[in-house]
C-alpha cells in the first residue's frame, strides 16, 4: 500500500495545481460573493450592519458561494476518469476524501481572504471583530468541507448534481450555520466585539466537524464502489 500521506499530497497537489491553472472554481465563488454583498447593500438599503444581521449576511453569502465550489469538486474525477485511477491505485480510498476536503478548505480560505475584507468595507464600522472571526471561519470551513465533500461525491454521477448538492447539503449544514452565525453575532456587535457564548458555539462547530469528518471517512470507501 502507498502511504496515505503520499497519496494525500499527490491528490491535493493535483487539485490545487489544476485550479491555479484553470481558475474554474475560485473566481466564480468570489465573484458570486461580492455580487451578493452588493445586492444586500442595495436590497437592505443599509451602509452599516451589525450583530445578527451582519452575521446572517456574511454566512448566507459564504455558504452559497461555497456551493459553487462544492458542485465542481469531483468533476475532473468523473469526466477524466480520476475515480478509476484512484480505485486502481494501492491506496486507502478515504485518502481521496481527506485530500478533496483539504482542497475545499483551501478554496474556502482563499474565498474568505478576498470576500471578508470586502464585507467589512461594505458593512462594518469597525474591523475589531475580524481577528476572532478567524477561529469561526476555520471551524466552519472544516465542517463545510467534510459535508460538502461527502455530498459532492454522492451527487457527482447524477445528471441533476447541480440541484442535488444544494438540496442535500443545505439541510445538513443548518446546525453548523446556526453555530457559525451564533458565534459571529457578538463579534460583529454594534459597540465592538463581545464574546457572549462564543466558546460554546465554537465547541458546537468543533463537534460538527468531528461528526461529519468521521462520517465521511467511514462511508467514503463504500461511495466509491460500483
Amino acid at each position: 500500500m502507498t502511504p496515505s500521506r503520499t497519496a494525500f499530497a499527490a491528490i491535493l497537489g493535483k487539485d490545487l495545481r489544476t485550479e491555479l491553472r484553470t481558475l474554474q472554481s475560485l473566481p466564480a465563488m468570489a465573484l458570486f460573493a461580492v455580487t451578493t454583498f452588493v445586492i444586500f447593500r442595495f436590497g437592505l438599503d443599509r451602509t452599516s450592519l451589525a450583530g445578527s444581521l451582519a452575521s446572517g449576511v456574511l454566512w448566507a453569502t459564504l455558504l452559497f458561494a461555497a456551493v459553487l465550489g462544492i458542485n465542481r469538486l469531483f468533476i475532473a474525477e468523473r469526466e477524466e476518469g480520476g475515480f478509476d485511477a484512484i480505485r486502481l491505485a494501492p491506496i486507502d480510498r478515504s485518502t481521496l476524501f481527506a485530500a478533496k476536503a483539504a482542497a475545499l478548505v483551501v478554496y474556502l480560505a482563499a474565498l474568505e481572504l478576498v470576500t471578508v475584507p470586502i464585507f467589512a468595507l461594505f458593512f462594518l464600522d469597525t474591523a475589531a471583530g475580524l481577528l476572532p472571526l478567524l477561529a469561526v471561519l476555520l471551524l466552519a470551513d472544516l465542517g463545510l468541507a467534510a459535508t460538502g465533500t461527502l455530498i459532492s461525491s454522492m451527487a457527482v454521477n447524477s445528471r441533476a448534481r447541480d440541484l442535488l448538492v444544494p438540496l442535500v447539503l443545505l439541510p445538513l449544514v443548518v446546525p453548523m450555520m446556526i453555530a457559525a452565525t451564533g458565534a459571529t453575532e457578538p463579534l460583529l456587535a454594534a459597540g465592538g466585539p463581545g464574546y457572549d457564548r462564543f466558546g460554546s458555539w465554537l465547541l458546537v462547530l468543533g463537534l460538527y466537524d468531528l461528526v461529519f469528518g468521521l462520517l465521511g471517512y467511514a462511508v467514503f470507501d463504500f461511495l466509491l464502489e460500483d
Partner: protein, 222 residues
C-alpha cells in the same frame, strides 16, 4: 521487469462468473483459466460483456456471482491486495486534461508509491518508449487522441504491473504508435495479458488463449 510469476499457477481463474446490470446479465456463467505469462484475447460483439469482464478483473466492478481469482487474490474480498499489481487500459485514458503528460505520470507514480529518482527514471523511460518525450510538457487537452492513447499506455505500465488488462489498446494509434507500444504491452514483455479487441487479425497471432463472448450464449474458450 515484472516480478517473477509462479509457473503453473493460473494468473487468472474465473468460474461461474455472472454480472448483472439491473435485471440484465452482461456476463453469465463464464469460466476460464489463464496461465502466468500467457496472453488471452477476448473477442465478441458490442454488448457481449468484454469491457465488463475486464473491469471485474481490474477490481473496478464487483461480480454478481461466481468466483474470480487474479494473481492469487480472491475478488472482491482481496481486491486491496491486487491493486498496484495490475495495469488497466480502458476506454478512458485516466489522464487529467489540464495537467501535462509528465505531470499526469508523476501523479500516477505517487499514487503507486513511486517517488524521487526512481519515479523520474521510469517516467522518462515510458515517455521514450511511447515516443512522447517531445510532447511530455503539453497539456493532455492539447494532445491528439492517438497521443493520449500513448500516454495512457505509459500510465498503464508505469508501475510495472504483473498483469495487463487492455481494452482496445490500439485504438487511435497510428502504425508507428502501434509498433512503439508493443515493447511495453506486447507479448514479448513476459507479463500476463488479457486483451479485449475487435481486431482479431492483429491480436490472434499473439494469443495463447482466445475467449469468444456472445450475447445470450455461452462463452467459448479455445
Amino acid at each position: 521487469m515484472p516480478p517473477e510469476q509462479e509457473k503453473g499457477t493460473p494468473a487468472v481463474a474465473v468460474a461461474g462468473l455472472r454480472r448483472d446490470y439491473g435485471d440484465r446479465p452482461a456476463i453469465d456463467g463464464l469460466g476460464f483459466e489463464l496461465e502466468a505469462g500467457a496472453s488471452l484475447v477476448v473477442l465478441g460483439p458490442n454488448g457481449a460483456g468484454k469491457t465488463t469482464l475486464l473491469r471485474i478483473l481490474a477490481t473496478l466492478l464487483r461480480p454478481s456471482a461466481g468466483e474470480v481469482r487474479v494473481l492469487g487474490c480472491e475478488l472482491p474480498k482481496e481486491a486491496w491486495k491486487l491493486r498496484g499489481r495490475i495495469g488497466y487500459l480502458g476506454h478512458e485514458p485516466l489522464l487529467y486534461r489540464d495537467l501535462s503528460g509528465r505531470e499526469n505520470l508523476r501523479f500516477h507514480a505517487r499514487l503507486h508509491g513511486l517517488a524521487g529518482d526512481e519515479a523520474a527514471a521510469r517516467i522518462d523511460s515510458v515517455l521514450a518508449a511511447t515516443g512522447m518525450e517531445r510532447r511530455a510538457e503539453s497539456r493532455v487537452a492539447e494532445l491528439s487522441a492517438g497521443m493520449r492513447q500513448r500516454l495512457a499506455i505509459a500510465r498503464c505500465v508505469l508501475h510495472e504491473p504483473e498483469l495487463l488488462l487492455l481494452d482496445e489498446p490500439d485504438s487511435n494509434l497510428d502504425a508507428e504508435g502501434r509498433e512503439l507500444v508493443r515493447g511495453l504491452i506486447g507479448p514479448g514483455t513476459g507479463r500476463t495479458r488479457v486483451v479485449v479487441t475487435h481486431d482479431p487479425d492483429r491480436f490472434l497471432p499473439e494469443a495463447d488463449r482466445v475467449l469468444r463472448l456472445g450475447i445470450g450464449e455461452r462463452a467459448a474458450v479455445a
